[in-house]
Symmetry: C2
């Protein structure tokens, strides 16, 4: 139980987050934890001039050559218009290319350049090392369970009302 508020007498009573609050605020702990991961990631990626979104996009393009923008947007769970600036930035820095698809000239096949693959490897190594610290004291089993829980929540996503 987390103590967050002093009672009427600052030196005495301490109010707490109620059990009710903890039970109902599924998003509460999740957001706090995500903030920790996000801010750690931002700091780790700063030397590479990457943010969480550009880092994620770069990894997915490196690992899935030929990916189209609409597929990448879906994989990253963001809207297509918001992906454009991310791909723009990676392309401007010559980390990826937009190749026209011959069979469908509306689409682009995204591919990482050699520079993109190299930066990706370095960034992944740095992030992996950092995450080891964040995951200290957590058993592999517990982590696996947590990942499964998150995947289940995602698969329970409600179809648009």
């Amino acid at each position: 139980m987390k103590k967050i508020a002093p009672g009427p007498d600052p030196d005495e009573g301490i109010a707490t987050v109620s059990d009710r609050t903890l039970r109902t605020l599924l998003g509460y702990q999740m957001k706090r934890t995500f903030n920790v991961i996000q801010s750690d990631l931002s700091r780790t990626l700063k030397p590479f001039d990457l943010r969480m979104l550009t880092y994620t996009a770069l990894i997915l393009i490196v690992d899935n050559p030929g990916l189209r923008q609409s597929q990448l947007a879906e994989a990253m769970d963001i809207e297509r218009p918001n992906l454009v600036v991310i791909v723009d930035e990676l392309e401007r820095r010559d980390l990826i290319l937009r190749d026209r698809v011959e069979s469908d000239r509306r689409a682009y096949a995204l591919k990482a350049t050699l520079a993109g693959r190299r930066l990706c490897e370095k960034a992944v190594a740095a992030v992996t090392a950092h995450e080891k610290l964040l995951l200290k004291g957590i058993s592999p089993d517990a982590l696996t369970t947590a990942m499964k829980v998150m995947q289940l929540i995602e698969s329970n996503r409600l179809r648009e009302a």
Copy 2:
């Protein structure tokens, strides 16, 4: 393994998110899951004219009468300036009050009004019902483990570099 990209021949090969990607992208699954919870929450709270932040603030004030703004900001893991508009909105709608603290006239003691407590109960009921759907198929043990993992990650937060 998640299929996200068609190979050279759309009808044939399917690329996948590599094991490497899944291992290194701790934030990847977390963000997707958080998006699901967040967007479900937004939809659920719309009838009450609440957002995740105003909802969280309201619950914490209802459950911790006398809370000060700086404590609330810390509990919500947001900066003080960003809390001001949230508290403003709740106060404008007469869901909470800013009571001056006699012993420290710089601070406010936040308290929910009757209307605030009533709206809170209704919103919590709606959210709880929705979350039951999101958590379908997840055992209580697994959920507990997932929550513990998140708390451990949070406690491993690195001090500012």
